[in-house]
Amino acid sequence: MADPLLSVRNLRIEFPTRRGTLVAVDDISFDIHQGEVLGVVGESGAGKSLTGTSIIGLLEPPGRIAGGEIRLEGERIDTLSYEKMRRIRGKKIGAIFQDPLTSLNPLYTVGRQLVETIQTHTDMTPTKARERAVELLHEVGIPAADRRIDSYPHQFSGGMRQRVVIALALCANPKLIIADEPTTALDVSIQAQILALIKKLCREHGTAVMLVTHDMGVIAETAHRVAVMYAGRIAELGPVRDVIKHPKHPYTVGLMGSIPSIGHDLERLAQIQGSMPRLTDIPPGCAYNPRCPKVFDRCFVDRPDPIDLGDHLAACWLYDRADAGLGSERTPEAMTA
């Protein structure tokens, strides 16, 4: 396989507070390849958004990268100065955030913001840059782009604004787009349109996308691979079809079971008891142990690292082959019977 476009190794993000240091992201590793959509899914507070913001270098103090490395095309980007990172952001990495209103400057026309961004990263003449801006707006599906380009952000509807933000992220033809909950603030019909657009861009430009969301449905629609995060760690990572149809980690199993689905007439949904621990009291061992239906003694002591199960990783002691003596009784099939 070719070298990955983005490679994150043992990333650790900490927040020093007066009650001690909180570890918000704890030793996570993953790759994103060219043209691939990696979904990152998890509950609020799982650390998925922080992972995204640390990759684009916009981690807000006092949060800090305390360990590990982030490489883009082989070059380390987590140690770059703010100025150097600013040049990479936009040129090589684009960002789409949840609320399109806060990503756009309300005082400037959409066209001016696009032209400025294009000129920052390329050496186009103003006329050329404007042509490119119209082209981009057209590409993200804004009707009558040559006229709408001189409108202000508030003159666009929510869905159209998110399209403008996507156009803005595309200005310099980035290799990677970090999309943090890009459809959460939008209505369902608009959500479908935006997801179709992201998929199209990926296909046509070979752009890689890291899609951060809490919605498994969005992942199923859009992503190629998915990383399931829980309490700052990756619980499971694998091809999206595999993870959804054959989840391995008990957390993923619980998550899938708790999504109501049309056509299943259930009196009760399968539910995971309790809630994700706050960062201040993550239990020792596996962070999922208080809620896990298959917990056993080892889970309270050791923290599991992702275990390779073919093309699928799961951080769960159930799958530890080295744990031989007990292993046979704890195969997933035996547990679910």
Partner: protein
């Protein structure tokens, strides 16, 4: 349920079970969104009226769940707030056990119904007073009208209510910020149950929660419904959740109900083009490879709704009649009520949906 049951009649033992508990008839709610008087005077603007809800009728039988589903701005939350009496209706009426509660304009006249109609809100971070202890929040419906004054009895009842929503009675001494979103929503439910209501209006109760917590809350709400014979008006934009909780479902678009029927019919034989579009937007968790056809366009501005059928600018089946004339709801062969000219004229053939997919998990 091992906690002490709270003595109250169940649905079965109540008299008058034939009549729907809640009837909403021709309900409309307009908001004046014009600029202030002086601005209008100088700028020559006209008065602007937002018709958030316009002519909506439905009934909810005792012990059942009726859901309203639609995109933002369709008026579903306005209906919720009008039904519980937070807004007076501009037109139409809300009946509770046959009494027209929307005509009760003073707070005192409404008091006899206050205990019986309660609401669960969307945002668990805004629905609990941050300066109050949980015990006082839950006890407020009991103490507000001095109907219970004995502190011991109140504490016991608060403890029962907390256990009922699966929290510890000890949580009563804490403040809301010490709880997670899901736990706060449980506290909100406990407060709503404190006055032993018959009817709960739930305005997007799980849309601010994570999926695993959403399942807990939905299960809790179903259990409480079974236990106390509660009647729900459930507001949501999430079709999967609506399918899970409802008996009957109404689809709203721009302040009007466009289609309503029992849940099975609506999801298997959707008639209205908007209902079909909504069903198409449900993400495909079963990975059937179905290519979704995203629908063009967005919800228009409700201040200037389109003429005729409000859906016509986005509807692939729109004709001249749709642009001119507002459709009225007519029964379809499957028994649902549909407000669509194309359906009425037989231009839109039935299109049954397969909604029971192969088992999702292995």
């Amino acid at each position: 349920m091992t906690a002490q049951p709270i003595a109250r009649p169940t649905a079965a033992t109540r008299p008058d079970t034939d009549r729907p508990l809640v009837q909403v008839d021709g309900l409309a709610r307009y908001f004046d969104v014009s600029k202030p008087f002086l601005n209008r005077l100088f700028e020559g603007d006209k008065r602007q009226i937002l018709k958030a809800v316009d002519g909506v009728s439905f009934e909810i039988p005792r012990g059942q769940t009726f859901s309203l589903v639609g995109e933002s701005g369709c008026g579903k939350s306005t209906i919720a707030r009008t039904v519980v009496g937070l807004y007076p209706p501009s037109r139409g009426k809300v009946m509770f056990e046959g009494a027209e509660i929307s005509a009760l304009t003073t707070r005192r006249a409404m008091l006899p119904y206050r205990n019986r109609i309660q609401m669960i809100f969307q945002d668990p971070y805004a629905s609990l007073n941050p300066r109050w202890r949980v015990r006082d929040i839950i006890a407020e419906p009991l103490t507000a009208h001095h109907n219970v004054t004995d502190t011991g009895a109140i504490d016991r009842r608060v403890g029962e209510l907390l256990s009922l929503v699966n929290l510890s009675p000890k949580d009563g001494a804490k403040f809301p910020h010490e709880f997670s979103g899901g736990q706060r929503q449980r506290i909100s439910i406990a407060r709503a149950l404190a006055s032993q209501p018959d009817f709960l209006v739930c305005d997007e109760p799980t849309s601010a929660l994570d999926v695993s917590v959403q399942a807990q809350i939905l299960n809790l709400m179903k259990d409480l419904q079974t236990q106390f014979g509660l009647t729900y008006l459930f507001i949501s934009h999430n079709l999967q959740v609506v399918y899970h909780v409802s008996d009957r479902v109404g689809v709203m678009y721009l302040g009007r109900l466009v289609e309503w029927s029992d849940k099975k019919t609506l999801f298997t034989h959707p008639r209205h083009p908007y209902t079909r579009m909504l069903l198409d937007t449900i993400p495909d968790l079963d990975m059937t490879g179905r290519e979704r056809q995203p629908v063009a366009g967005e919800v228009p501005n409700p201040i200037n709704p389109p003429s005729g059928c409000p859906f016509h600018p986005r509807c692939p089946h729109a004709e001249d009649r749709c642009r001119a004339e507002l459709p009225t709801a007519k029964p379809s062969p499957e028994g649902s009520m549909v407000a669509c000219h194309a359906v009425e004229e037989g231009r839109l053939p039935a299109e049954p949906r397969q909604v029971a997919p192969a088992v999702a998990t292995a």
